[in-house]
């Protein structure tokens, strides 16, 4: 059981590695985000989200996994860049689909330039990510780079399937969801591209395609699920400046988080009827009173505490799976970084 000193030490290590690998990825990103024509209506907009910063969790995890399995950072940096480009492409499209107003502390791309220009910029980011994956052939050779490409195709497919599940729930105004539904959705929508793909690609590159990938799916899912639940909690009680998105935005969007699913389960019939009516209202018509009421009911039914407990439980399970995946690898800073992420995903603010 980690004490406060261990938690602080883990946090320091994660910050240090995120800074280092984040900087490495940003340098490599410049090749793909260099100014070119049409600059004003495409490439300047394409470079906007990646230049807003962000923690660089995904590329750092990919680089750390590759190094923990024995590769050099140079072998994995193009995959890390591809991951960051694809991540930003998803963010652009997600912001349009979710009608979000704020991303990384600034107006979303579609709020600044309109939906048409933003969607096109998102498409360009996807293609730039594909370019980076194809460039892997220069350093990894055709066989390994094709394996990485296949992983990327699967990751992208899983992500859009997960997004479709979530959008479908909102479209259908689903209020009879179970926690298992939520976990299935985030397995696809969040975990694949946040943790599973970076870990698997890093392991593929580090082991030259020999590492078994299934245990990484299990570990990545548990880690990613703890991350996502905590992220959803931060939307309700976090610091808006540090969080970078609008607080309570998930309630405004009617996002089916674990807390909302819990509320639907615990609410009385009358409350559920009101909840259904509020969630059926288009986002612009949803009022501050609606959001306040949902949040107040969540507190009344301890939905945040419940979700927090689930996140901790899954992080505990992730810690167990970590030993199965990485136990046989020699000790390294990268291995310790991945272990420390289990604590960090719960502690970040």
């Amino acid at each position: 059981m980690p004490d406060a000193a261990t938690v602080a030490e883990a946090g320091d290590l994660v910050t240090e590695v995120l800074d280092e690998y984040g900087a490495m990825t940003r340098v490599a990103l410049t090749e793909y985000l260099a100014p070119r024509e049409p600059q004003r209506h495409l490439y300047a907009i394409v470079a906007d989200y990646p230049r807003r910063g962000g923690r660089m969790l995904r590329p750092s995890l990919c680089l750390a996994a590759a190094r923990a399995f024995g590769a050099s950072a140079a072998d994995a940096v193009r995959s890390a860049v591809a991951l960051e480009l694809l991540h930003n492409a998803f963010l652009v499209h997600d912001d349009v689909e979710d009608e979000s107003d704020v991303r990384r502390g600034r107006p979303t791309l579609h709020a600044l330039h309109g939906v048409d220009v933003a969607v096109n910029a998102g498409d360009a980011l996807l293609l730039l990510g594909l370019r980076a994956l194809l460039d892997n052939g220069r350093t990894l050779g055709p066989v390994l780079s094709m394996q990485v490409l296949e992983e990327a195709e699967r990751m992208a497919r899983e992500s859009v399937e997960g997004q479709a599940m979530e959008l479908g729930w909102r479209r259908d105004n689903a209020v009879h969801l179970a926690e298992a539904d939520y976990l299935q959705m985030i397995l696809k929508k969040t975990c694949w591209y946040t943790t599973i793909f970076p870990l698997r690609v890093g392991a593929l590159i580090g082991s030259r395609g020999r590492a078994p990938l299934e245990p990484l799916l299990r570990f990545g899912f548990l880690l990613g699920a703890a991350f996502q639940i905590t992220d959803d909690l931060l939307n309700l009680w976090g610091d808006e400046v540090r969080y970078g998105k609008e607080l309570q935005g998930d309630l405004l969007e009617g996002k089916r988080t674990l807390m909302l699913i819990r509320l639907c389960e615990q609410a009385t019939a009358a409350e559920r009827a009101r909840l259904r009516a509020v969630l059926a209202t288009p986002r612009p018509a949803r009022t501050a009173d609606d959001v306040r009421w949902m949040r107040e009911r969540m507190d009344a039914y301890d939905c945040l505490t419940h979700a927090n407990t689930v996140a901790h439980a899954l992080a505990g399970a992730a810690r167990h799976e970590f030993a199965a995946v990485f136990g046989s690898l020699p000790d390294s800073r990268d291995k310790r970084f991945i272990a420390a992420l289990v604590t960090w995903v719960l502690e970040r603010r």
Binding site: M1, P2, A4, V7, W169, R171, D172, N173, A174, V175, H176, L177, A178, E179, A180, D181, L183, Q184, L187, E214, L217, R218, F221, L222, A225, L233, L236, W237, I261, C264, E265, Q266, A267, T268, A269, R272, R276, R295, E296, D299, D302, L304, T305, H306, N308, T309, V310, H312, A313, L314, A315, G316, A317, T343, L346, E347
Partner: protein, 236 residues
């Protein structure tokens, strides 16, 4: 000689609190009122165990789906086994569509009864495999226990309207889309009593053919449909 002694601690048992395992604070309540105490070890332990079991079940199901897909792709795509499996999948999908359509119909009935526009169909509300207890209830505020007696792998899906009173429902025989297969008749659904669970008891006779069996749950007094139950059986 004065030997150093450990100070006497106020606690008499180990302090194990999952919510503070990694030092995470409790979330603040928005209205400033203190949150209810969540340190009840039994309740907390149940949540933790259930969450972890549920997560493993989700990821294991997902891995099994991938494994089956890979097996079909890896050289067995055109063998007779694959055709049988595919046929079962098609049959299961057909039954699922029927289940979804029934959900829509039930919602429409609710809407007509309440004098409002029919709402979209909810997602499937409860499912379990081989007698496992799903984490979340089909009816709000209650929980679900599924008991399966079968010699082969079985997955049970239940869709039961909220607020159905105990002792008032009957389950029609569950039939496969292939009518020559014998129906499953020994299926009982007991709605929740008070805070108790919804109980589903399924007994599958030995030798029952694989397939997806689907049946209506109706209110015994009004004969109005209040849900549906599906049992998917794999080959023994």
């Amino acid at each position: 000689m004065n030997r150093p002694r450990r100070p006497t601690l106020p606690r008499t048992t180990p302090v194990r609190t999952w919510t503070s395992l990694f030092g995470a604070p409790k979330p603040p309540a928005t209205d400033g009122t203190p949150l209810p105490d969540d340190d009840d070890p039994a309740a907390l332990g149940t949540v933790i165990q259930r969450s972890v079991e549920l997560a493993y079940r989700v990821v294991d199901d997902y891995l099994q789906q991938g494994q089956r897909a890979a097996e079909r792709i890896a050289g067995r795509s055109y063998g007779p086994d694959a055709w049988v499996t595919d046929a079962q999948d098609v049959s299961a999908r057909f039954a699922r569509y029927a289940s979804d359509a029934m959900g829509l119909w039930l919602d429409a009935l609710d809407g007509v009864r309440d004098g409002r526009t029919p709402a979209p169909a909810p997602a499937p509300s409860g499912a379990a495999t081989n007698g496992a207890v799903p984490p979340s209830p089909p009816t709000s505020g209650s929980w679900l226990v599924i008991e399966v007696q079968a010699t082969q792998s079985a997955a049970v899906t239940l869709d039961l309207r909220a607020g159905v009173a105990a002792g008032t429902v009957v389950v029609h025989a569950l039939r496969d889309v292939e009518v020559e297969k014998p129906p499953l008749r020994d299926v009982v659904v007991e709605p929740a009593v008070g805070d108790g669970p919804v109980r589903v008891c399924v007994r599958v006779p030995a030798g029952q053919p694989a397939g997806t069996y689907h049946g209506l749950i109706v209110d015994d007094e009004t004969n109005r449909p209040v849900g549906s139950v599906s049992v998917r059986l794999l080959d023994a």
